[in-house]
């Protein structure tokens, strides 16, 4: 292959990426803006909140619990060397609220709910359900896509907060009940160092941003996929990979801006 054709190939890949980005922007715009005329749009949202949010609850709670416990164990082992093991609560809480809560929730969410969204929408496309909806005169962007987007935007920040609370409680379980850190200093150290606006709300802002990005990627990949079984499986993989990378990249940028 000549150098020129390689460069041409690279250029085409670049143009393809940019046009996909443009398509996804128009897609989001059309799905979220403009009015919906369906009387049952609330029921649609409700169904998706269940599928996207409630069904992700189990994995979020279990992971949160274990991550909090591990943090407490690791933190204790290090802090006890300096005689400041009572700071373990502060460490667990700050780590969870600022970083692990939003980030791990977003990664789990991409794997659990994101891939399911992509596969479901991709399959609806492959079986012509989206086309037939269009022919019935119903915009699938409004009827299928919009409720899923909103459900993702709403669920993920809630899941992230639940993750943090469960994690901190798991940390207390290990530090206080098992390792014998005085429970008063576990909680009071935490309360002294955690700022509601700087730590808790910034964590929630992160979760909102991640929710937006992960859901957008998942739903768009499903809608834009090639309507074959290989196309769906590729799109599902892309959802998890793109969503995870965007979350980690954005986390760095947000952290640099916030803290």
């Amino acid at each position: 292959m000549s150098v020129m054709s390689r460069i041409a190939l690279l250029g085409r890949a670049g143009l393809d990426t940019i046009s996909a980005l443009g398509r996804s922007g128009v897609f989001l715009f059309n799905a979220l803006l403009g009015r919906t005329r369906f009387g049952n749009s609330f029921t649609l949202l409700l169904k998706q909140l269940y599928a996207v949010g409630v069904l992700s609850l189990a994995i979020i709670i279990v992971s949160g619990l274990f991550i909090g416990m591990v943090l407490a164990l690791q933190g204790y082992n290090i802090l006890v060397g300096y005689g400041s093991e009572q700071a373990v609560g502060q460490m667990v809480a700050l780590t969870l609220l600022r970083e692990l809560g939003p980030v791990v929730t977003a990664l789990l969410f991409a794997g659990r709910a994101g891939s399911a969204l992509t596969a479901e929408i991709g399959l609806m496309k492959a079986t012509e359900q989206l086309s037939s909806m269009e022919m019935i005169g119903v915009d699938p962007l409004k009827y299928v896509i919009a409720p899923r987007l909103w459900a993702g935007f709403i669920s993920m920040p809630l899941l992230s907060m639940i993750f943090c609370v469960v994690g901190i409680w798991g940390g207390a379980l290990v530090a206080v009940d098992w390792l014998g850190v005085y429970s008063g200093s576990y909680w009071s150290n935490m309360q002294n160092s955690v700022e509601f606006f700087d730590d808790v709300l910034n964590g929630v802002v992160k979760a909102v941003v991640f929710a937006f990005v992960v859901t957008w990627i998942a739903v768009f990949q499903g809608y834009d996929c090639e309507p074959t079984s290989e196309g769906i499986s590729r799109a599902t993989t892309r959802t998890v990979v793109y969503a995870s990378l965007s979350v980690l990249g954005l986390d760095f940028i947000l952290t640099a801006l916030m803290f």
Partner: protein, 154 residues
């Protein structure tokens, strides 16, 4: 009906999520609304606060009686001004009480300890604690110790 159950489950989910936010606010970050009402504020100037932070405890005989609300550098006095909110129950502190910055453990958190003076007048809202003792800075201690040893040898 099925929709009804769905509503209930999703409702519980959202409620739990919001409850988590409340827990994070009240229990984890200690954001207690209305607690500021029952305190009065005093301030003190320290030469060196060395690691004292806002929200640090103000204690007396080891019991927490208030919190540090703000720390700022006073550029006219070249020292650090520490504002404290003390529980209004504790309204019998003599005006010549001493405030010192202490450390819990070798590397633990810094806090303000108040020791009682003998004055009949008590600290009121907005008054200043004149007698202060700055934080112990390890390097300074070591430096002073070395200096003493050297001068003894001469």
């Amino acid at each position: 009906m099925r929709t009804r159950n769905l509503e209930l489950v999703v409702g519980v989910f959202i409620l739990v999520g919001l409850l988590a936010l409340v827990v994070l606010a009240v229990r984890i970050s200690g954001l207690a609304p209305g607690s500021a009402v029952n305190t009065y504020s005093v301030h003190a100037y320290f030469d060196n606060v060395a690691g004292l932070t806002a929200k640090a405890k103000v204690t007396m005989s080891g019991v927490t009686i208030g919190r540090v609300t703000a720390i700022e550098f006073d550029k006219t006095r070249y020292s650090a001004r520490v504002d404290m909110a003390v529980d209004s129950d504790v309204n019998t502190l003599p005006a010549d009480s001493t405030a010192s910055i202490l450390t819990a453990g070798l590397l633990g958190e810094k806090y303000v300890g108040i020791s009682v003076g003998g004055d009949d007048e008590v600290l009121a809202d907005g008054s200043e604690i004149y007698d202060t003792q700055s934080a112990l800075v390890l390097e300074e201690l070591i430096g002073r110790f070395l200096l003493n040893t050297v001068s003894k040898d001469e």
